[in-house]
């Protein structure tokens, strides 16, 4: 499968601050890629480099087979980009905004435009500056979907939106998921979990992991060990165990490379006296929090 996005050792330095360090990731065509990470992790910087809004200090990126530094003009007829802090032509009415953009896209679908306007309940006669934040994001998203882009790039589109608007936006996106690759950065893990196929986790400018969501879900487990008496904590623990915590006769940890046979064997090796072992699947939010906490602990 071809990659819609591919980066090799992408690095961005602002003076002495490394916003992005050796970011290498690939987003396969047709994926819904969730690009997550805490604030200041470098998600927006990475997306701006991908969209050729800013240039990388080192490394390279390819978007739809094109070097990202060559991304301009006609190349954007296949890309829909919406960002939380994008400056729209505020003086325009919603209808005029669509009228203005329509001639720029050979694949603009008038019926899809009308459908999106209806779906998002966009008021055509209102100026963009007079719209609520949610409505503005909807207008921006509708204007980025109406031409069937091959790649949809969304930078924190859900920030500050009420749940209803989020659901509407996600619904709108999901309806496009079959024909497009979606690359979305967000803190909103719960919503992303419901529709993302791939996930990349960025922290302090470094990509901690990038993989399919199903394999991630398979890889992480919350492990609970029950003992007859409070166990003694050994000095060395497997590196894949995170946040090991004991409470009376119970030890809990997060296994980040879960394989039932191997993990069970590890448990037996380290805690042979464990009476009971349970492996519980984790939500994306729990995995994210575990990763974030681990990152802070090692920082």
């Amino acid at each position: 499968m071809k990659d819609a996005i591919r980066t090799d050792n992408l690095t961005k330095t602002f003076r002495k601050f490394d916003a992005l360090r050796d970011l290498s990731l690939s987003v396969p065509e047709g994926a819904v890629y969730a690009f997550v990470g805490p604030n200041g992790a470098g998600k927006t910087t990475a997306i701006k480099i991908l969209m050729n809004i800013i240039s990388a200090t080192q490394g390279r990126a390819e978007v739809l087979g094109l070097d990202s530094t060559e991304l301009r003009g006609r190349a954007f007829t296949s890309i829909g980009y919406v960002s939380e802090n994008q400056e729209l032509p505020e003086w325009m009415r919603v209808g005029s905004f669509f009228d203005f953009l329509r001639p720029f896209y050979p694949t603009w679908d008038r019926s899809l435009e009308e459908q999106l306007i209806r779906q998002f309940e966009l008021p055509l006669d209102r100026k963009l500056r007079n719209l609520s934040r949610g409505m503005r994001v909807k207008a921006a998203l509708a204007s980025a979907l109406a031409y069937h882009p091959k790649l949809i790039v969304l930078d924190e589109p859900f920030t500050g939106l009420d749940p209803l608007v989020r659901d509407e936006l996600i619904q709108g996106l999901l309806e496009r998921a079959e024909e497009s690759t979606i690359f979305i950065s967000s803190h909103d893990l719960a919503e992303i979990e419901s529709f993302a196929s791939h996930i990349g986790y960025l922290e302090q400018g470094c990509l901690r992991f990038s993989e399919e969501l199903t394999s991630l879900a398979e890889r992480f487990r919350e492990v609970e060990l029950t003992f007859a008496a409070p166990p003694r904590m050994p000095n060395r623990l497997p590196e894949t165990w995170m946040h090991v915590a004991s409470s009376a006769a119970v030890i809990r940890f997060v296994e980040s490379r879960f394989d039932e046979a191997r993990t069970s064997a590890d448990v037996r090796t380290v805690f042979g006296e464990a009476k009971d072992v349970t492996f519980a699947p984790m939500s994306l939010r729990s995995i994210f929090l575990a990763m974030a906490r681990a990152g802070r602990e090692t920082a």
Binding site: K48, M51, F76, N85, P89, W91, F100, P103, F104
Partner: protein, 515 residues
């Protein structure tokens, strides 16, 4: 609809108020100009008289507002798709930079150049000139507006994010120009020796480079650096230009054995009359007046002293030189005397005044041949005069010739008359001139461009006649209907440099009046 038209029409919808203001101001300018002619004929337009004196505040305001509104329109149009920053929605839309630039160019041409062109055509026609005969000059005016105003404003607008930032940058540019002008005054010969053409070419190149760099790549930091670099380069160029060598090339030294086209001899008896001289202003400078007897000017020749370089050496070996300074003194055949003014720093004067000094003068000279001489009797009312447009000698308050010329003033129009044959009634306070006393007046413009830069295609000017009396004082002669004059168009034939030395010259003796 293509991208160019989409963006153009979008800008038109968004900036209709600004464009309307620009067009309205130009219309007001045109209306005001034509209105000023309609009352009292051409002579009434003389500066300070007639209709223009009724309206100067509004006239000045309109003239000031037009370029300001143009700057505003340019900044707004370009910043409609701002090239600075990383949050603009349009940078991730399929805008092609060439088409975006074309749309902005079209907008500026449509709402700045086209209305100006229409106004210029209208004014020429209203003033009685056939616009189709002046197409080259009209296009030249458009080009000068593009180079002087549009291009630099567009370059600044591409590297600023808002109109406020744009005007702040403009203010910085103005401060830089003021600083540069001050610096130029401090560098000897820089005002006289610099041709400015090299800087002009670089200026255009840098403006174009910034605009293209911003539209093609949005490299704002590099573009700003380019502008700052150009500013620094200009200052460096100002400081290191070998002005004296340039003057020496422009005005080659008269070869040995060659007869100078004129002779000057200091005439100590021709002391200047205090009323006829400029006074020293402030405490910094001292003015030394040098009265010369003039001779040796061939008939049909006119000599222009373009610039003078003064070198003063005192007996104790102290030397000072002025650098090349503009003079703009004309010497005519039959003229008996003239005077030059040496401006000295007070410190230098105080150091040298006590004993005689050696004063050496280098004179940069253009020799003209008086051509196309024709006799002419000034008619009544408005009349056409070749090169000078439409003229009139009828004015309520002054007795000069007032002309309105299409696009530019004449390169050189010389009016010569027998002062005693003036048909103007002489005032009681003036004694009538001697018979045969030659009075002259002229207008000259060195530029060879087909039009002068600006908004107005009509150049208004006046020529008054003066004649020299036996003293270095000049006396004015009136031009009135019926006055016989000789018109001519002197043409430059030679540029040269000649030297003059005055030994044992007393600075104190020739010092001018003090305020």
């Amino acid at each position: 609809m293509n991208q160019v038209m989409s963006v153009f029409l979008k800008d038109l919808r968004h900036y209709w108020r600004e464009t309307l203001a620009a067009v309205a101001l130009l219309s007001a300018f045109g209306w005001q100009e034509v209105r000023s002619w309609s009352e009292g004929g051409l002579g009434a337009y003389a500066v300070g008289y007639g209709v223009s004196s009724v309206w100067p505040p509004i006239s000045g305001l309109v003239g000031f507002l037009i370029p300001v509104v143009w700057l505003f329109v340019i900044a707004r149009a370009i910043q409609g798709e701002s090239l600075v920053g990383d949050r603009q929605f349009w940078v991730t839309r399929p805008f092609e930079w060439t088409k975006l630039l074309a749309a902005k160019t079209l907008f500026v041409l449509t709402f700045i150049n086209l209305p100006l062109f229409v106004l210029d055509v209208f004014l020429l026609k209203a003033a009685g000139f056939a616009p189709q005969q002046y197409l080259t000059g009209l296009l030249w005016m458009q080009l000068t507006i593009l180079i002087i105003l549009v291009l630099p404003a567009a370059a600044l607008a591409t590297v600023t994010a808002s109109v406020a930032q744009f005007f702040l940058a403009l203010l910085l540019v103005l401060l830089y120009l003021i600083g540069g002008s001050w610096l130029s005054e401090q560098i000897p010969s820089s005002r006289f020796g610099s041709s400015g053409s090299l800087t002009g070419v670089f200026f255009i190149a840098v403006c174009l480079a910034v605009i293209l760099l911003q539209y093609a790549r949005r490299k704002t930091f590099a573009s700003r650096l380019l502008i700052v670099g150009f500013g620094i380069a200009c200052i460096v160029l100002l400081a290191v230009t070998p002005y004296r060598s340039l003057v020496a090339r422009r005005f080659p030294q008269l070869s040995e054995g060659d007869q100078p086209p004129f002779q000057l001899a200091l005439v100590p008896d021709l002391k200047p009359q205090p009323t006829d001289l400029p006074s020293e202003r402030g405490a910094e400078d001292v003015l030394i007046f040098l009265p010369f007897a003039v001779s040796g000017i061939a008939p049909d020749s006119i000599v222009r002293l373009h610039g003078v370089l003064y070198e003063v050496q005192s007996r104790d070996g102290f030397r000072w030189d002025s650098g090349w300074k503009y003079q703009g003194v004309f010497l005519f055949p039959g003229q008996k005397n003239t005077q030059l003014i040496l401006q000295l720093k007070r410190g230098v004067y105080e150091r040298m005044k006590s004993s005689p000094v050696n004063l050496h003068m280098s004179l940069a000279v253009t020799v003209y041949e008086d051509k196309n001489r024709r006799e002419f009797v000034v008619p009544s009312g408005d009349f056409a005069l070749a090169d000078a447009g439409v003229c009139s000698a009828e004015h309520r308050f002054t007795r000069s010739l007032y002309c309105r010329a299409p696009l530019r003033r004449p390169s050189f129009l010389l009016i010569t008359a027998d002062a005693s044959r003036s048909t103007c009634q002489s005032g009681d306070e003036q004694s009538p001139p001697e018979k045969g006393a030659i009075a002259r007046g002229w207008i000259s413009d060195e530029s060879s461009a087909p039009a002068e830069p600006g908004i107005n295609p009509l150049q208004e000017f006046s020529v008054g006649l003066t004649h020299w009396t036996d003293s270095p004082q000049r006396s004015s002669t009136g031009i009135c209907p019926g006055t016989p004059v000789t018109l001519s168009n002197p043409e430059p034939v030679r540029k040269l440099r000649t030297e003059l030395s005055l030994r044992d010259f007393s600075l104190e003796e020739y010092r001018g009046p003090r305020r």
